[in-house]
Symmetry: C3
Subunit: 138 residues, 3 copies
């Protein structure tokens, strides 16, 4: 069994944003040499997500509006977590969007259906944060 690990680093300039990381995951898979296996991609922070959905700017605006409706950032005082912090909403938003994805690897490629793209979802940005790619297989 082969295993391969790579970190991706980001500094999203706004509090929230979505970054398409599919090219970096494809590159990591190529480097790993794994032909058949599983590829785990996860946020390494608890105020961020990794998820698979559409690379369509209108949809990303809809995600932003929707997540703000489900778990509003403000008023900060509505959350018990916001004493020394102001990011409780980011912890909630990340639960809706998920921490990680697991993608099948077949014949050396991410085994995707149509339109599947992997995103880093930042909900508490303006600082350097990480995603991990872990690949296992043969």
């Amino acid at each position: 069994m082969k295993s391969y690990r790579k970190e991706l680093w980001f500094e999203v300039p706004a509090r929230r944003g979505f970054v398409n990381i599919t090219p970096q995951v494809i590159e990591a898979l190529r480097t790993s040499g794994v032909q058949e296996g599983l590829c785990l991609v996860n946020a390494m922070h608890i105020t961020a997500s990794v998820f698979i959905n559409d690379d369509e700017p209108g949809l990303h605006q809809d995600f932003e509006t929707w997540l703000e409706k489900l778990a509003p950032e403000k008023p900060y005082s509505q959350y018990h977590h916001n004493t020394a912090e102001d990011n409780a909403d980011a912890h909630l938003k990340r639960q809706v969007m998920g921490r990680e994805v697991v993608v099948a690897i077949t014949k050396g490629k991410l085994d995707f259906g149509p339109w599947e793209q992997i995103f880093y979802g930042e909900f508490d940005g303006k600082r350097r944060k990480r995603v991990m790619i872990k690949i296992i297989g043969e």
Copy 2:
């Protein structure tokens, strides 16, 4: 390490619906011959889910009502994504329900607790769509 891949195809006749795919996953596992490992089951479309919950029709009605409350289908004009499309709500609903499940394989069986059943959740149906089963192990 063994690996096995199978696609399941569906055409749900309504816009939304839930299909119990546990028997097909069990059959795929049997065919794979894997005794110990992991089984990934994921939607191959970004307007559909794979999730594990109860096979109880009342609960499925509750899921439908609840998801419509969290991310209503209409009015279509409330979503930026709905210019050429009308399925923004399906992209949101799928985030709540999830893209994939990973199930442990032990002694050649899906290692489930009581009542766990695997479902395909369709949120933009009336066309042929796919689920992938990827099994790795020994």
Copy 3:
């Protein structure tokens, strides 16, 4: 390829509660002897979650309040599932929080970013319930 399986049992005394299970997962990983691989941790019940977030009591209060807003327990009669049962809300809450996490194993350790802790989320407690840990790798 090595594989290792362990069940953790809980009886949360209230209907809802969060239990940090990171120490037990670390102990299982140590016992498994796996150095490189994947660690699946999943609820074995469909009214409970396993998720990764912050071990901060204020945030856990926020999760409780937020989940009750998204999928209220009462009135029980609002859910079709609640005929012989009263736990439809628990099935919904578990979808928001997720069934499982998959964690990378690197050099014999859970490959975590800062503050990542694994929790069992109980939404229908007062009885004995289980979590599974399944580790595969080398």
